[in-house]
């Protein structure tokens, strides 16, 4: 059968139509609507009123937004580097064909399967100062319970810990896939070149994983800039907004205070921020790659 001309185009279109329709209505339309809304003063009950850059200038002066922005950056900084290092170490340790390695790979991937609700529930049991695991241990050893969820400094650490534990799976799998790509004979050549384990790791393995490292950092940065569920469920952003990330700020603005335009503006800013950070990372690494 030979297809050509208009008929072929139509048939081709028919095949992609189901996806395209969903994509247009559930992704592209809301995206554009959001951009429009960010220039309006809007609530769910009536049409928006155009206010130009009003929402954005307001955000620039909003201390709550500033705090959320700072929190988000801090979360990203204390989550992404440790997560990258730990999952890389795990992948290096578990990149073996043994049965126990396979078992541990499954074990470390397991948290990724859980929903954020379960994850926060588990960590609440661990971190709660009065009845939690850490509290019990501290009391049993004669120490004071640590107020992980109510101290403005510790609360960020608690959320970071929860997030790192929850996020092991994907980066570890990406690193394992990257490690599998390195041909065995390169390691054999390094052995014959008298390279120690340490030298082999630094001069052969890690340089070969450059692109995977970049991918993991980019994906995780984008993910952690959007951190939301853990903060909302564990602390509701408290105490005093000390653990409120930007997405929680957007959520509260939109669905607690019903300022849809203002929330949209914050969302657009976050979108631009993620885009910028990702592009910077991408170009830094590509520049280093030379040719």
């Amino acid at each position: 059968m030979k297809l050509y001309g208009r008929r072929a185009q139509l048939e081709g279109f028919a095949f992609v139509a189901p996806f395209l329709i969903l994509y247009l209505f559930l992704l592209i339309y809301p995206l554009l609507r959001g951009i429009v809304m960010s220039f309006q003063r809007a609530d769910p009950f009536g049409g928006g009123r155009f206010v130009g850059f009003g929402n954005f200038t307001e955000l620039a002066a909003d201390p709550v937004f500033h705090q959320a922005l700072a929190n988000t950056f801090l979360f990203t900084i204390i989550i992404v580097p440790p997560l990258t290092v730990v999952t890389l170490a795990l992948a290096l340790a578990l990149n073996k064909p043994t049965r126990s390695a396979a078992w541990f790979r499954g074990l470390f991937f397991a948290p990724s399967v859980l929903s954020v609700t379960i994850v926060t529930l588990i960590w609440r049991f661990v971190l709660a100062p009065d009845a939690g695991l850490v509290g019990e241990v501290m009391q049993a050893t004669g120490g004071q319970p640590i107020p992980f969820l109510s101290d403005p400094g510790l609360v960020k650490l608690a959320i970071a810990l929860t997030t790192i534990w929850w996020s092991f799976g994907l980066p570890m799998m990406l690193f394992l896939a990257g490690l599998q790509q390195i041909p065995e004979d390169v390691y054999e050549a390094a052995a014959l070149d008298g390279a120690s384990k340490w030298t082999t790791l630094w001069r052969v393995t890690l340089p070969s994983l450059r692109r995977t490292v970049l991918l993991v950092i980019m994906l995780q940065t984008a993910a952690q800039l959007q951190l939301f569920g853990q903060a909302q469920l564990l602390t509701s952003g408290g105490p005093n907004g000390a653990s409120r990330p930007v997405v929680l700020f957007i959520y509260e603005t939109a669905f607690v205070r019903w300022q849809l335009g203002y929330a949209s503006a914050a969302a657009e800013l976050l979108f631009l921020l993620i885009l910028a950070v990702t592009l910077v990372q991408y170009f830094t690494v590509n520049r280093q790659d030379g040719e």
Binding site: D185, E188, P207
Partner: protein, 349 residues
Amino acid sequence: MLDDLSLTLEAREFIAFLGPSGSGKSTLLRIIAGLESADAGEVWLEGRRIDGLAPGDRGVSMVFQHYALYPHMTVRENMAFGLKNARVPRDEIQTRVDAAAKVLEIEEHLDKKPGQLSGGQRQRVAIGRAIVKQPKLFLLDEPLSNLDAALRMRTRVELAQLRQKVDAAVIMVTHDQAEAMTLADRIVVMNDRTIQQVGPPMEIYERPANAFVAQFVGSPAMTLIPAQIVAGDGHLVILKLGDGTVVETAVPRADLPAQGELRLGLRPESVRVSVGKGVTTRATVELVERLGERTLVYARLADGQRITAEDEGHSRVKIGDEIGIRIDGRAGHIFGADGASHHARARPA
């Protein structure tokens, strides 16, 4: 993995491990390199036992089949890596790398990465990386198998020349008998994880130790024809083939086993297409291969036995022709039922 084997190399000797895939030749090479360990046995290099040492401490260099260059390092860094690990002084490294690059004609590529080089250039870098370490023993794992035919021939010649310049022994693994024949001082023919024969190329060719070696070395393969003894004495044996042809060989009767089947082994060059006088028997042509300087004729004898014969370059033989062939029985070999070979007595040197 490998069954008992023992092998001793002379200084500066070039040895080729020749055998089909799965014969254990690569495993043997990897045991020498330290990449695999033997269940039992010892490896010695210049009076030092090395089988307990790490690969990098053995004083051997290896060229891998797929080159195994470090993709993110430049050519210079690739070649210097082993020396840096051995803590060779910086200017010494520089001197050695530059010297090797000059010999291998890769000077202009020193700052490129392997991904920017052609297959032949990568091959040179891999050889360069082995040379700069100035090892006592080079191990080459199928070094030419990834090159195209023209480049392979050229590299083979260059490898032979290079070999004159380095003061070390070489072990090369190959399944290509032409490589083994042209490069090696001695060939180790392997099959089924055992050494079949060790010897200089021409000895392997002229006096194969058994039927496997006889058929594996030489292209096209030696023809083996079942035969019966008609008569014989201290200097010769007369055999009768299945089609009734009688062939006189130079193998002494006394060397042959008293019982069991025998096979007569004939290389194509001792089976000539012929007319008129001197024709030993007749055969029907099944396939003709024109190689230019000679023509190979695949034919069947009257009893259906296949035989490979040779004719001059401008042969007029066609498929289906009935041809006369002249068998030079005195160049033939006889193989017993167990595959063991029996040759004419060696001419006194």
